[in-house]
Subunit: 275 residues, 2 copies
DNA sequence: ATTGACTTTAACGTGACGTCAAACTGCACA
DNA sequence: TGTGCAGTTTGACGTCACGTTAAAGTCAAT
């Protein structure tokens, strides 16, 4: 029988750990003195402690360790737990590797440019939302800006503010300033069944803007004609961090555009490059 | 100006996170209503929030993020922080990879044997400690057991219990039952300057048992002649997990041997295989 | 009797929030 | 003017696996 100090020395763990394991019922001393409360351990308990430490080292939680050790689970369930843990580890491995790539690209950026800029690209996800919009082809940015104004005026007048979210432009075409294929419209908090007719007698339709898991985004301030500058930064980020475009990009106007200036979030659906 | 709900919707973060960042002074709303306490954010703050999230994604702590964002550090210091973080990441990567290998070896074990045994090998480290011992060559286990008994009797009689730790055998030879080169003696809590003389007139010397970083250990019960069984299990574990022996092995007797039986911890200094 | 080493319980701290709970505000509708 | 409901506030507790004091009691040797 060892008291806690000697036992902890032998096992090379802290006394606090032993008291903690006792308190959660994971490893209780063989005997506790009724009057003094002193804990007494036997070498037999060292085996159990070692099993606990070994399983804990695999990254299992103490809860899982307890269930494994107390034989409350079949070998199949053990297999399941280990497989689950394996999947977690693999995921966390690739996440850490990605972080490492990000860090390295930042370091490279510092080395090349002497400072830390454009560090505002971030990955998000977004749920699906109803989308009141109209899809058109445009010959140039002027036409786009004109329709944008019209739509803002029409929709703000006809749809209550509580129902509509942001003004969103979805770009179906690639970067060709002379043949733009765009959806322009508003995200909605809830679907509406009224139809909206624009001054030119065309009407806006309700569709669903699909959810996206991985969205590389950045905020841009300035005239909407120059949004391609932001596109460039996003492209660099994707290249540096191993992502590629995976769907039509979106521009979400965080403020309704006043004059030429606007504040928007540029969003690119992305997926990891297989390369 | 957005209230917290809308701002959190736009940024796709929780309101709780915004309140938390406010409370730690990382991102305070542009304006707080004096009577109601309502927080009001502007789109400008979205930029700062995005910077925070981007840096946090690199795995930096919020403390570090705050120092980076508030420009309290030079680019050289930023480089330093990122390099530090990179080192942490690389370490954590290899640790996770090791865990993954452990898990896989466990799964393989289950697949081959249908259950989970011998999972009590664990890695520890140990500090240096004074070691009162004598080194001999032995022709067989019987001689070893005889000297062991003698040493136990002599030392327990001459050295106070508070000063000595466990009985430890260090094996300098490889596995050759007919030519054993062993140190036999006791670990000590503090060095002593008395010399100990055995009945055969040879004396025990004080040396230092060196510290070891990585020690693969397991507990064994049973007659000490059969300790090679434990050696086999340790060898398997090392092979499965990519370690190799890196120094003389030790047997630490957790109980003074009574009769033939003993409880010991077998310890192998190890290092990662370069293969 | 007095040390000094050891042990006990209890409480707080860690990091970055999630999750209630109770009270208050803002706004639309009757 | 009241009522309802969605939104907001502060505050507190929980997370996970312990480390770190702190105050009080125990053990063995001198």
């Amino acid at each position: 029988m060892f008291r806690i100090g000697e036992f902890s020395r032998i096992a090379r763990v802290s006394g606090r750990l032993l008291r903690y394991y006792d308190s959660i019922g994971l490893l209780s001393p063989q005997h506790v003195d009724a009057t003094t409360g002193y804990r007494h351990y036997t070498i037999g308990q060292l085996g159990r402690l070692n099993r606990i430490l070994a399983l804990k080292d695999l990254g299992l939680t103490l809860d899982q360790v307890a269930r494994l050790i107390d034989d409350k689970v079949s070998t199949d369930e053990i297999r399941g737990m280990l497989l689950l843990r394996k999947a977690e580890l693999e995921q966390s491995l690739s996440a850490e590797a990605a972080r490492l790539r990000h860090i390295e690209s930042r370091l490279q950026q510092i080395d090349e440019q002497g400072e830390l800029k454009n560090y505002d690209v971030i990955l998000k996800s977004t749920p699906a939302q109803p989308y009141l919009s109209t899809r058109r082809r445009f010959g140039g940015m002027d036409d786009v800006v004109a329709l944008l104004r019209t739509i803002v005026q029409t929709v703000t007048a006809q749809v209550p503010a509580g129902l509509r979210n942001e003004l969103i432009v979805v770009a179906h075409s690639d970067f060709d300033d002379e043949d733009l294929d765009l959806d322009i419209g508003f995200g909605l908090a809830k679907p509406i069944n009224r139809s909206i007719t624009l001054p030119d007698q065309t009407s806006m339709t309700i569709a669903e803007l699909p959810a996206v898991d991985a969205l590389a985004t950045l905020i841009r301030r300035g005239p909407s004609e120059q949004s391609h500058i932001g596109f460039g930064a996003l492209g660099l980020w994707m290249e540096a961090n191993g992502y590629q475009i995976d769907g039509p990009s979106r521009e979400v106007f965080l403020e309704l555009p006043t004059g030429a200036d606007a504040v928007m979030e540029i969003q690119f659906p992305v997926r990891k490059s297989t390369a």
